[in-house]
């Protein structure tokens, strides 16, 4: 029995990394976008588009890494389109986000039809669990390089936002578009660039889904990871490194149901699926208040007004 419970803990840890990685990329992308004062609800479409592009390019070129790169580029295009549309007066970014979600998934399914059957080369994994004799632990520590890159991106993004001129510009634009204009900053261009970079990261998150885990391309591949990015960023308080912890927490919570099932606890399997959402809702209820705005929120953001 005791080994069984350890098994659950190990499976949750492994799930945190394995399921959490795409969350990490979409939330980092959304974090950067939101720091510039724009919200992108269309990352779900970006994610699916990235998954399809990554898979197709990996299949044709034989190089999964080229797939990852092109997935990012596809995401950047969608992000730039989103932000360009929203940079016009009275165009609602939440509505456009939902339409972009539809458009992105539609285009991905349209071009992805021929790729449902064939099998593309997979991203290699790095074995960090070789020192252990426990097979479950070895499996849990089979880590994809994209996860490590995600950690690096999180730290780099934090550094960039804090210490570079570009990061300062992004934050000024996100805090007050009027102040940015007074400083002579090109508000729309900075937002388009930030959203495109955010889309790039989300596209990479999508390629992780199709090229590593669950490693296939189908129309049911994504289960709302892109939509959840917005909630994750609120949870992470617009901190890139916070996005890392929140994504791991989400991955772990999502892995709880299946892990418990593996030790014979099947009751409430689907209720466990709801845990990450309930958690986020609870955090929002606790931290929001009608009398003050959230800590760390970019003030140009439409969701917080």
């Amino acid at each position: 029995m005791e080994v069984g419970w350890w098994g659950v803990a190990i499976a949750v840890l492994g799930g945190a990394i394995r399921i959490g990685t795409p969350f990490l990329f979409v939330s980092l992308g959304e974090c950067l976008t939101e720091k510039s004062g724009r919200i992108n609800l269309g990352l779900e479409g970006t994610l699916v588009m990235g998954a399809m592009t990554g898979y197709a390019i990996s299949l044709h070129s034989g190089s999964p890494w080229l797939g990852v790169l092109s997935a990012g580029l596809a995401g950047a295009v969608l992000g730039a389109l989103h932000s360009w549309l929203c940079s016009h007066q009275r165009v609602n970014d939440i509505a456009v986000g939902i339409a972009m979600m539809l458009f992105g998934t539609g285009v991905a399914f349209f071009f992805g039809k021929p790729y449902i059957q064939p099998s593309a080369p997979r991203l290699p994994s790095i074995d960090l669990g070789g020192w252990s004799a426990v097979p479950q632990l070895q499996a849990a520590l089979q880590i994809n390089a994209l996860f490590l890159m995600g950690i690096v991106v999180a730290i780099a993004l934090r550094w960039m936002l804090k210490n570079t001129a570009w990061g300062l510009k992004v934050r000024v634009v996100g805090e007050s578009a009027d102040a940015a204009r007074a400083l002579g900053l090109p508000v729309d261009r900075i937002r388009i660039l930030s959203t495109a970079q955010g889309g790039f990261l989300a596209g990479i998150g999508g390629s992780y889904l199709s090229l590593y885990y669950p490693f296939n391309w189908s129309e049911g591949l994504s289960s709302g990871q892109g939509l959840m990015a917005v909630a994750l960023v609120i949870f992470a308080r617009w901190q890139p490194v916070g996005c890392l912890w929140v994504s791991l927490l989400w991955g772990g919570a999502s892995a709880l149901g299946p892990s418990l099932q593996s030790v014979g606890i099947t009751y409430g399997y689907y209720i466990f699926n709801a845990i990450p959402y309930l958690m986020t809702l609870a955090v929002m209820i606790i931290t929001c208040s009608p009398r003050r705005t959230l800590v760390g929120v970019p003030h140009e953001l439409t969701v917080t007004r």
Partner: protein, 350 residues
Amino acid sequence: MPKSLHRALEPFLIIVGSLSVSMVLFGAFVAAAGANPFEVYQTMYRAAFGTLFSWQNTLIRAAPLMLTALCTALPGYLGLITIGGEGAVVIGGLLAAIAALTMPTAPPMIVLVTMALVGMVAGGIWLTIGGALRHYRAVNETISSLLLNYIAIALLNHLVTGTFRDPESLNHPSTHHIGEANMLGLIPGTDLHWGLVFGVVACILTWFLMHHTVFGFASQIAGGNVRAAQIAGLPVGRLILIVCFVAGAAGGLAGMLEVAAIHGRANDTLNANYGYAGILVAFVARNNPLAIMPVAVLLGGIRASSGLLQRVHELPDATVLVMQGIIFLVILFSETLYGRFSRFQKQGVS
């Protein structure tokens, strides 16, 4: 020209213009994919509006869209952007089915009325949670309603695979069938179920509520400027709760109709994205319940044409998704054109 007609001309022309632009864009898209755009449009027209049969197909799809569009449109009057229609549909359908299963001996009429009431109350409460959180805790309603959609789906899956599972539904977990006698019938002389009537009536009633009653007027003021509404003594919180409840009730009714008129049981077909499509219908109709009806029919037609497009032109079924995406992007973008044509402005003022 009468003033009211003139005021309606600007949105009408802008929407017709946007639809034309999106048709050109989509035409270019299918042409790039190797199909003849003119033939594609012809096929779509035939599949959606060409025959009596295709009209019925279109209207069957339009009915739930009218109801789920109200989930987003009505809170829109108060300035809220709710995307919780999907959750309201799921919860409404689930609880309506459970309600029917608890009363096996009641006469069908009673069962149906109970199902409708339970579905509407359940959907209403589900959407009101988001409205209440927004008003009392300043939790963003867009995000909370999105989270509640996923929670509703988890709840549905939990109950149909557990407590309420019909053991005979092996690879597609569902509740027991509510019984053929309890199914909502067809409109006489057609293949349409009564859902369409409910959708049309709901749109007309809510339009009357929002545009011709004091309640609707107060809601519009609160949506325009919360502070001004509060200073004027309007009960903003209560308005938000009631409007969200009515909106959610429409979604719950859509779920109940899916169960009582189509599937006969609650299962994951309730989560068929009618909620998300409804959001777009509401945006395109600019939240006006009367405009929701034609937009829902248009979208229903686009969705109905998917099968024939596949068979005739060998285009993937996602083609209609691309088309929806293009139409909505262009229409949302056209929002920026309002007020730019001085023609409408000058005459509007005088």
